[in-house]
Every structure is written in C-alpha cells, then in structure tokens.
C-alpha cells in the first residue's frame, strides 16, 4: 500500500465546512436574543418590525419602551421586583439551608436507611412539580393561604430541596474525608467541622444551589398564576405574561421585549460571571469518563 499523503484541500474543505456549521448554529442561537434586543429598542408596530430587525434603522432606536415598562406600567416594575425577590429570596434561603444539611448527611454519613432515603427522595422528585399545584391549591385554599406570601413561599421552598440536596452531596463527595477528619483531630465536633470547614469549602456549589433555587420562583408562572389573585402580590413573571397578553392588543413588541430584558439582566449577568461554576456544577453528575 502506498503511504497516504496528507491532502491539503480536504483539510481546507473540512475546516470551511466546520466554520459554516458553527456559524449557522451561532446565528440560530443568537437570533432570538438579537430580536429581543432590537425590538425592545423600538416602538414600531408589529407589522413593520421585520425590516427593522433585519436592518436596524438607527434613527428608530429609542429607550421609550424601557421608560414605559419601568415607570408607567401598573403594577409597577418595582413592586413586581420586590415581590419576586421576596418569593425567590425566601425559597433560595430555605432551600439552601436544607440542601446543605441534606448534602452533608448523605455524603459524609453512612447511617442505616441511607439507601431507602435516597430512593424515597428520588421517587418524590419524579412527581411533576407543575401538577403538585393541584393538591397545594386545594390544601391551601382550605387553610386560607391562597393569595398570601407564605402560601407561595412554602411550595417554592419545597420544590428545590431534592435537586439542590443531590447537587451539594455530589460536590461534598469530591472533598476528601481527610479534611473533615483533620478538623475532628484539631478539636472540633462534627457539627463544628460542618459549619467551619465543610460549609466554607462548599461555597461554590452552595452558590449554585441558591442560584437555581432562586431561578425557579423567579421565572415561575404556573404556581403564581394560580396562587396570586391580587395584583399587588404579582411577581415579575406574572407581569411579563400580562404585558405579553396585552401587547397583542397594542400590536407592539417593544414593551414585552424590554420587560424581558430588564427581567433577564440580573440572571444573565450572574450566569456570565459564574458560567464556569454553573456548567461545572451541573455537568458534575453528567460527564463520566
């Protein structure tokens, strides 16, 4: 057999094909985001938006939609934001506490019943969270908790426990037992070692767990739609949905897209800053060699 020569043109063709594929993927990925940004900066009616999106006219760019969304909508953006922070913040705090305890117990103890417990939480986590609204709604209606802060914080907190607990456990598994043992030798009880050594070491994953526990309520519509009847308790997600519905009437995308951008911004910023942690944390269980 004759030795094969490296052929230049096939390598070139391969390289160009790769770039083409990636550019198409990038356009697909970016287009909706680009669409959101451009339309949020215009007040053009729906009918004329396409040409502007494909070739933005600088003279048509305006921040007036942002002005309307932030200052002249009812309920006000600030009130929606405040409610969202109350719900998401409480859920993240409670979820985080529970996740840290659960992760520690599952990772560093070998208590009798551990296997049963894991199967138990696995089974429970399989019940689709959206349909849990039905029993919650009926239970809380009897208790008079519908349209109250506490009535929605409770199901939100319950939602994140299993997933974040497993997330923290996986991370703690990667911390050698030695470290905790060194703390025991250094004069600490296991509880002290947990708070003074394990918790500081787990800060990255606890941050991720808190972020995810925050994100759930922040972007939840299904629960909030059912539980919150008075608009003074509405969250950002409800506000966005509401604007989207009424936009169809005004034939103008500007409001819903500028609302979407303002609402996404903190999430996107957090995500960009901690991208590596988030991807690393979430793929920890998925990537196997």
């Amino acid at each position: 057999m004759k030795p094969r020569r490296r052929r230049r043109w096939t390598r070139w063709a391969k390289r160009i094909a790769s770039h083409v594929v990636l550019i198409i993927a990038c356009i697909f990925a970016v287009f909706p985001i680009y669409f959101i940004v451009v339309t949020s900066l215009s007040t053009l009616p729906i009918a004329g938006i396409t040409a502007h999106v494909l070739l933005p006219n600088p003279s048509q760019l305006t921040l007036s939609s942002y002005n309307t969304v932030l200052l002249h909508e009812s309920p006000s953006y600030l009130s929606l934001l405040e409610n969202s922070l109350i719900f998401s913040g409480s859920a993240a705090a409670i979820g985080l506490l529970l996740a840290a305890f659960t992760g520690f117990a599952l990772s560093k103890f070998n208590f009798p019943g551990r296997r049963t417990f894991v199967y138990f939480i696995l089974l429970i986590s399989l019940f689709p969270s959206v349909v849990m609204i039905i029993p919650f709604y009926l239970m809380f209606a009897k208790l008079g908790l519908i349209d109250s802060y506490i009535g929605l914080i409770i199901p939100y907190s319950a939602g994140a426990v299993v997933f974040s607990g497993i997330l923290v456990k996986n991370y703690m598994d990667s911390i050698p037992d030695d470290i905790e043992e060194a703390a025991l030798i250094d004069g600490m009880s296991r509880t002290e070692a947990f708070f003074r050594v394990m918790i500081p070491l787990c800060l990255p994953v606890l941050g991720l767990a808190a972020f995810l526990a925050f994100m759930g309520p922040y972007t939840d519509y299904a629960y909030a739609h059912v539980f919150l009847t008075s608009s003074d308790k509405w969250t950002l997600a409800l506000g966005l949905y509401n604007i989207n519905s009424s936009d169809t009437g005004t034939q103008n995308y500007g409001l819903v897209t500028s609302f979407a951008i303002v609402m996404s911004l903190p999430i996107v910023a957090f995500y960009m800053v901690f991208q590596r942690y988030i991807i690393g944390g979430l793929t920890l269980g998925a990537v196997r060699g």
């Binding site: 990925a29 669409f35 199901p155 972007t219 998925a286």
Partner: protein, 312 residues
Amino acid sequence: MADLRDQTLGFRLRHEWPAYLYLLPTVAVLLVLNAYPIAYCIYISMTDFGTGGRGSLLSYHYIGITNYQFALTTGASTSLALVENSFLWAGGSVVLFLLIGLGLASVLNQPLRGRAIYRTVILLPWAFPAFITLLVWTNMWGYEYGIINSMLNLVGIPSVNWLLSTPTAAWSALFITNIWLSFPFYTVVFLATMQAIPKDLYEAASIDGAGTFSQFRRITLPYLAPTVIFVGLMGFLFTFNNFYPIYLITNGGPGISTQIFITESYNDAFGAHGATPLFSTAAMYSVLDFLIIVCLTLVVIWRTDLTRNWLK
C-alpha cells in the same frame, strides 16, 4: 465516615446517628410538602371533585377508580393521544438534542480558530430564563405578524399558521423552540466529555493506522456512550414533564394534537375560559403521568447506574 460501610447495623446506628438530625428538617419538608400532597393528589383522582358538577372545596365524594375507568374506556381516545404526544414530545426532543449536541460537540472538538467564541455564543440561549424567551418565541411563531413568517415571505415562502393549522406545523414549532432552549447544554456536556478523552489514545490509534472515522467509532463513541445514555435518559424524563414550552407556545393545540399529560392536567384544573375546574380529572392525569415516569425511571435505574453517584 465512609469506612464504616461494612459495619453492623448497631455499630452504624451508634456512630452515625447525627445524620438523622441533619436530615430531620429535610425529611419534615419532604413528608409534609411532598409526600402528603402527592398522596392527597392520588386521593383527589379518586373523587368526583369537579366532575360531578357539585364539586366544591367542601363537597366531593370518593368514587374509587371510576375516573381511571373512564379514562380507559369513554375517554380512551384522549388518554391515548396524551400518551402518544407525551412520548413524541420527550422522545423526539431528546433524539434531536443528542444528534445536534453530538454533531456540534465533535465539530467544536477540533482545533479551529475562534473555537472559544463559537462556544460562548452557542451557550447564550442557556443564560436566559426559558420562561422569558419562550414568551418571545411565541410571538416569533405568530401567523400574521410573527417574524418567522415575515422572513419566510421575504424568500418567497407563504406564511404558515404554525400554531393553529396542522399538528405537523405545531410540532415543528415546538421542536425547533425546544432545540433552541436545550442544545447549548447538550453541546457543552458532550464537548466536555470528548475533551476528557486522553489524547494519547488518538495518537496511538493514528500510529496504528486508524483514520478519522475509525477513531471516532472506536475511541470517541465508546467513551461517550455512558454520557450519551445517561444524559439522554435524564433529558427524556425532564422533557416528558417540561411544561412551559407547550403551555406557552401551542397550549396543546391545534385541538389536542400537542397536548401532553402535564399541560392537560394544568388546563383541566386551572384552565382559562371560566370553565369549572376539573380537579379530579386533572389529578388523575397527573397520577398517570407519575406512574409512567416511575416505570421509565425503574428502567433507567436498571439499565444504567443512575443512582451510583447518589448511593456511593
């Protein structure tokens, strides 16, 4: 500590009991806020709550498995459609995720100029909360003014009524949107797995005379297989109950041609149009959904070592 695994029950109890203290709050939450509602939901599914016309928060009756009998006889066509749609939704999405994710990951795994930029851009959709972008996608699929139809018109293709005309059009819109939401994650996971393959394996293979294709088949694929299977199965379970894409984009339409268990259940209970809430029917569909998922999970546990990480 882990070394006590082989100890007897009494020994472990004596030395590991603090674990129960750490788990106490979680167990309380799980029992009160998960297990009890699930049990309650199962109970509701066996009542005439809402279906009898006299259902109120205070008055409904236990009627056994009547609702389930109804779902399997008179309502069989709806039930069957829900099963088909749920599996099509989850299965179709996952197949597309895997194909696109694997394809892009292997393209990105080459030494290309601008690789880091491509990777960052491809990850962008993932940074935005799905609920928010889904609302925008709904607008983009609009018949009259949606930008997708407008752009099709520009290249001479007539508008398609994506969400309301045919099941095919509605499913296409759903799948494309769902791909946009998920392909970044799959691409990154597969890319990370590919990059974890030791480079010297490829070097050894190329010295042994293996070509690009043969290297992919004999090295890349076997290495990827566990991840692909695991991620694919988890993706299936997740998509099966992924509520928002369908709820926001088609809401099950046209007719019930894209309705899945979870959207049907939500709409039965809290649907608009001022209809009577069909709590018992809604609960029944969610229980059916749960049963299917449990069965699928048992298969997953049996086929893979899903719980390995958890039980280690």
